[in-house]
Amino acid sequence: MVGDPIVEVTGLRKRFGDVEAVRGIDFRVEVGETYGLLGPNGAGKTTTISIVAGLLRRDAGEVKVAGMPMDIDTAAPRALIGLVPQELAVYPDLTGRENLRFFGKLYGLSGASLRRRVEEVLEVIGLRDRADDRVDEYSGGMKRRLNIGIGLLHEPKLLILDEPTVGVDPQSRNAILESVEALSASGRGVLYTTHYMEEAERLCDRVGIIDEGRLVAEGTRRELIRLVGERDRVRLQGSGNLSGAADALGRLDGVGDVVAADRSLEVVTVDAARLLPELLAVATEAGMAVTQVEVSQPDLESVFLHLTGKALRD
């Protein structure tokens, strides 16, 4: 049910020798929600999800999956998780079908249910025609799709994807993102790590911005943008009474500055999408003939820059 947490992480800490990779992280993922961990390489994303998936022992904190404590020795919550590691975690000397069957058995599938799920997943990832070819004969994109497909076999309540688009061509990347969108729509929780701002913006209901082992901010895209005070900008181009339109627009609630330039007005607002119809109506009423509208919204890249003082790909 949407609103119940499928994952709750509190006070998570993990140290590797002298390096504290995770320094007290808290977040939760609701059922049916896609939650993104956005941060540069080395921020602690993979360590965090490795602990969530029960691969690594944590130094401190707590992880619960569907209310069950997760540790490296607990089996029950693992059955609820589908993990898609960053590496191509498949056996190249086996066929695609053999890979799926093997991992399906580890998740307790057998007999007719195993065969049915293997066929369904092959269909979803578009590899039915190549199912009996060895994986080392697959293209990079096909291997990536198989990598994701294995995570889907047992119909997990939570899918964890660790940077699934790293190193793939744009076409395959788009196919992967579409797959993840479809999975989100199917109602399962998705925990998605990436250092690509566009992916987080496109896929995630909420985003946790992680840097140097700390969650520096969390929320929906809009909440994050508001958090750092970034505003939308609407550029109206046209002719007529531009100064009158500027005055009228400046009096509207939710509008900050209005800057007049040659044959255009730039309106700074908190929510361009919501105010745009009103902006156009007021400008027209004031005597401006609007011929072109340009909306620019601050993105998570600028939020990350604002919060950490560095770019995502630093």
Binding site: L55, A89, F103, K105
Partner: protein, 392 residues
Amino acid sequence: MRFILTIAGKDLRLRVRDRSVFVLGLLAPFLLAVIFDLVLGAPSEATFQPRFAVADLDTGPVGDGLLGVLRSLAEGDVIELDEVGSVDEVEAAVEAGDLDAAFVIPAGFSQAVTSGGEATLRIVGNVDAPISVAIAEAVARGYAAEVEAVQLSVAVALQTLPSPTVSDVATLAAEAATMPPPIELVDVTAADRVLDTSTFFIAGMAVFFLFFTVSFGVVGLLEERQAGTLARLAAAPIPRYAAVAAKMVVSYVVGVVAMAVLVVASTLILDARWGDPVGVAVLVLAAVAAAVGVVAVVAGFARTAEQASTLQAIIAVSLGMIGGVFFPTNLGGGFLAKLALASPHRWFMNGLADLAGGGGLSVVWPSVAGLLAFAVVTTVPALYRLRTMEPR
């Protein structure tokens, strides 16, 4: 158990497809054993039979004694022996290369010995057969030492007689000559508990390559970690030990199958004689357990599959050398013999040698116990290390 078998089944399938297990586990040891046998085994096993002759110009009892010694050697196929009538004939044959060496018992030899005078036994040697000549000299010296012992016995006995006669001397000499030596050395171990060359080389190569063959299973754990699939195994709802146990099962199965195939193939093709089948089977099972343990402990402390393979190769070669699997060396009873026991290879070869002596299961227990001790000492820390290995 179901998950262990599932993972082990997958691994075995991968190994069969990989084919390198066949090369290292079967082809390499078999071919190397054949090559070693051809290069080193054939000459050492070829019949070496010195060609001797004897010219007995004495016909007395002491000369007859030497003749008896030579005849018994000939009857045992240790030497070829011609008995000729003249020195000229002997010398001509040696000169022509028809003989390696000849004994000339001169006329009056027995008389000289029994009277305590100077007696000379001649050896005519072929310069092109130094080993055979040395053997002839050794036989002659041995006989001379025996005669000297008789002389000494007679001299000691005469001291006890108040007025010995010539007849007393002859009687005492005859009695002394027929007395058995006070100490007789009987070698029952060296002759009976030594593997024939073919068996030695195939057994040596089999156990040597076993340490490479079994690594296919355990090192797979490190390969899976590098490939990322170990993370997937660790994320599955299966017991934490399942992956490690499966790898060790694969190592064990591959090792046993490889050894079994080598034993059968070498018996059929190379005419190797491994000994009592039950004893061999138990010995093989124990040897594979030891090999898996050694390989696993190396894998447990290595960071990568490459590092593990390199370390395992170094250790396998070192243990093989120490254990004497490459050459049929006589380790004697010194430091080398003690050092050899630090190698499971030695325990395996010792067990086979015990079986070659004609024993069955009862004679291999000490070697089996040694191998199992290796298995336990290495497997316990290996399991701890591998079980706690983080998947990424």
